[in-house]
């Protein structure tokens, strides 16, 4: 118990505490944890936030209705991704909203936002603009109104 695992460390995880000597000895700690592959059982949701390095926000504006798609699918890239990111990448091949990704993969919205934000920063997924991006353009509102009026009752 309590053995740190690389993927849970996050960027700030390497700071040595007082009295602990940094450097070569750190390597030994890692090798010990590598052997200890049987991690204590945790809730899947907590592990999901560990995957984001504890981050809960992203540079991209990802609203619940924001659509994402994969402009050019790359199987090699998919193979390098962590399981949750890979599932998101695969599912976004068929254009999908953030909310639908959250439901489809049973991941909390916050996790989907961070991981999709990372994929978008890599250029792996395309983040579509939402109607809000055109909120000064009444043409979009008129198209929505027109679309509603044309719906079969």
């Amino acid at each position: 118990m309590g053995v740190p695992h690389e993927s849970f460390g996050g960027p700030g995880g390497g700071a040595p505490g007082p009295g602990r000597s940094p450097g070569k000895q750190h390597k030994d700690v890692i090798s010990v944890s590598d052997k200890d592959t049987a991690l204590p059982r945790r809730s899947r949701r907590i592990r999901a936030y560990a995957l984001t390095g504890g981050r809960t926000s992203t540079r991209h504006q990802l609203l619940v209705e924001t659509l994402v798609s994969v402009p050019q699918y790359d199987p090699a890239l998919s193979g390098t991704l962590m399981p949750e990111s890979r599932s998101l990448y695969e599912r976004a091949r068929a254009r999908c909203s953030i909310a639908e990704l959250s439901v489809g993969l049973d991941l909390p919205l916050g996790v989907v936002r961070v991981l999709i934000g990372d994929l978008a920063s890599q250029g792996a997924v395309f983040v579509h603009p939402t109607a809000h991006a055109y909120h000064h353009d009444t043409n979009v509102l008129e198209r929505i109104l027109d679309g509603l009026k044309r719906l079969p009752a």
């Binding site: 609203l63 091949r93 068929a94 909310a99 919205l109 579509h128 939402t130 009444t138 008129e142 509603l148």
Partner: protein, 208 residues
Amino acid sequence: MGSSGSPPEGDLLTISAKIVVAGGFGVGKTTFVGSVSEVPPMSNEAWMTEAGEGVDDIPPGGKSTTTVAMDFGRITLRPDLLLYLFGTPGQARFWFLWDDLSRGALGAVVLVDTSRIDDSFAAINYFENDSELPFVVAVNQFEGMPVHDLDEVRDALALDPSVPLVTCDARDRASTIATLTELVSHTLSLAVLSGPAGRELAGSAPHA
């Protein structure tokens, strides 16, 4: 689904819009969304939040984390234009999550049940005071329910005259579409009044 390679040309131009459906617990939000959604309303435990101290009963043993469900549907208005409807979590202590749902929305529909009118006060307060979103209030009027005069309902809700008030039957697709149309017309009228392009529009004669 199941396609390989790149998405069809033009697909990347598809945009989405959102309308929030609010109201008290059990007022018919999921029914409203379901009557018009092209897919069965989708739901999962989307948010995690600390239980509110002093509001929730904290279980013995201290802090607890609660998950809050998200509930939504989808309408394809055009091949390149999708409209999502999101129901708000009904319980009062989750209103801070309404901010997340409201961001970027076209507006909100607040559903009211006249037999439990108090249940809608909080939602109306939120959209009147804590949000910039345009909203309409829709009295969910089932068959066989006593029919209330809308002026009486407006008085009972202390609703500003500028906020549209309509009746609807949340189970009826045509009625739900009419309510959504009312909201988007309202949003558009406010956009025309306040937007920079709107002033030009207001200045020029509308085409008949």
